[in-house]
Chain length 301, copies 2
């Protein structure tokens, strides 16, 4: 039943795309690309032929939406798509993505191509990406978002709200991380607590001082465990001097849990950790992205 | 390595409890109960004998903390613990829990005892619990939190923040759900968007109108899929007339994904859906709560 419902929605989207492709209705395809959620677009993409994929992708703008779509797509498909693209177009798209997605997309490319794209980016951006790519695979460092919102412990709740209103970049803000004179992470405040505090109160007086944090080397399973155990929405990543490097958010943790579950299944099925060999057909692909559907399917054999 | 780290922390907590129990240091035990996170308390509890469990539980207050601890505990343990308790104490604890946890705890009891406890609660609360317990097992209805924060579409952002400041009850607020004159769900605003909007703007003008919602009968796997696919922090549950019944939050979805993964493992291992048979020893228990550890353990055989 569930499965059918999901397939039903995706089937409608797929058929709409196919109809527009047949009619070569480019204006409508561009509209549909913009209107479709990046995650849905990534799901439906697996149903298309190589030619259809390239045609649809060529009609997408170099926007954040396209960057998000690529980060939702499986590595093998990203590599296929981008291998036919100019370095300039790839760089233009990557520029719009958050740092952790940037390294994901670059990791999917062949090394030579990835380095060539990297060279087209601004020096500051290159350094940030290089840092993230330097962390061990499947660690908090590769998972974290480096655009974090921090405030000094001595400012007031009222000023904090004003500062927040000027910050357009930092996405997914639920917690405000508080730092001291030495830029060390000393506390955390939920956005809700900030909203409901009298505006003259100093952040120091309302912050929670015992902050659960991880190090960039911490394995993503450990990060997932902490987030799941304590119902956190995000966990901060700090260096040995307690400087805040980034945060891992719950939406990425959800992906980790699903991914780990799949890996463990494949291991049990004797396929080893190398998921790529199973990512040949679009069907297998869909299953890897949906471990619980995959699970009931295997269970039913 | 990860496993050791986790065990290490839990071992320290367990040894501290054991030392205090041996010394019959009740004041210290009460302090430790209060200081320990409910999720950690539930984990460490599985290491204790029946007698130790009863002694520790007898020193816990009838607070929200204790209610949360019970909701984190496995059903078999909840039943064991509460079978020796008076109906009045159980009712006093249950009163402090959110509705979905209330039905979880009652579901763990034997039916006769659950009904007797239910009768001690206020009529309004009885009705709410009865409604939740009426939804199908593993559905959005049994998973949802009914304490939701709604606002009328015609009020301003400034007034919305003021109203929010008076609401102490509604936990985990990330989204504000917006209703029309007929009390129908017509939009949603993130807390962040509200904070960063000029205070005279009407909610109608900043709300997102296309709200993804589910019905109380929707299976929890479908809810998990929606939350994971779109990176939501919560998904609203509505009735056929679009009235908001509650929300399912991402922390509960994380639990669902882990639980489903475990169920699928057990099914593959030939144990069927009946997890309870595997919940006899505290070790098995711990593994059921931590599917990925369980998975690597099975994988290693």
């Amino acid at each position: 039943m569930r499965k059918e419902m999901f397939n039903h929605e995706i089937n409608i989207l797929r058929d709409t795309y196919r109809r527009l492709l047949r009619r070569q209705a480019k204006t409508n395809l561009i509209k549909l690309n913009k209107k479709t959620h990046p995650a849905d677009l990534a799901t439906v993409f697996r149903y298309f032929t190589d030619e259809e994929q390239i045609e649809i992708f060529s009609l997408m703008n170099e926007t954040e939406h396209t960057a998000e779509f690529l980060s939702e797509l499986d590595d093998a498909l990203v590599n296929d798509l981008l291998s036919k693209e100019t370095l300039e177009r790839i760089a233009a798209i990557i520029e719009r993505a958050p740092t952790n997605d940037q390294s994901d997309i670059l990791n999917a490319l062949e090394q030579e191509k990835a380095l060539a794209v990297l060279e087209l980016l601004e020096v500051e951006e290159q350094e940030e990406i290089a840092e993230i790519m330097g962390y061990p695979e499947d660690s908090a460092g590769t998972l974290m978002n480096t655009e974090v919102f921090t405030l000094h412990e001595e400012i007031t709740a009222g000023d904090a709200i004003k500062t927040l209103q000027d910050q357009e970049d930092a996405e997914m803000v639920f917690y405000l991380y508080i730092t001291d004179d030495d830029d060390r992470l000393v506390g955390v405040i939920s956005l809700r607590a900030l909203t409901t505090t009298p505006s003259k109160t100093t952040l120091k007086d309302i912050m929670i001082k015992n902050v659960h944090s991880v190090r960039p080397e911490t394995d993503q399973e450990e990060v997932a465990r902490i987030v799941a155990q304590y119902n956190f929405l995000a966990v901060p990543v700090i260096d040995p001097d307690s400087h805040l490097l980034g945060i891992v958010t719950v939406d990425d943790v959800v992906d980790v849990i699903r991914e780990e579950a799949t890996e463990d299944f494949l291991q049990m099925a004797g396929a080893g950790k190398d998921r790529e060999i199973l990512l040949k057909s679009s069907w297998e692909n869909a299953k890897t992205r949906l471990p619980w559907l995959f699970a009931s399917w295997i269970g039913g054999i």
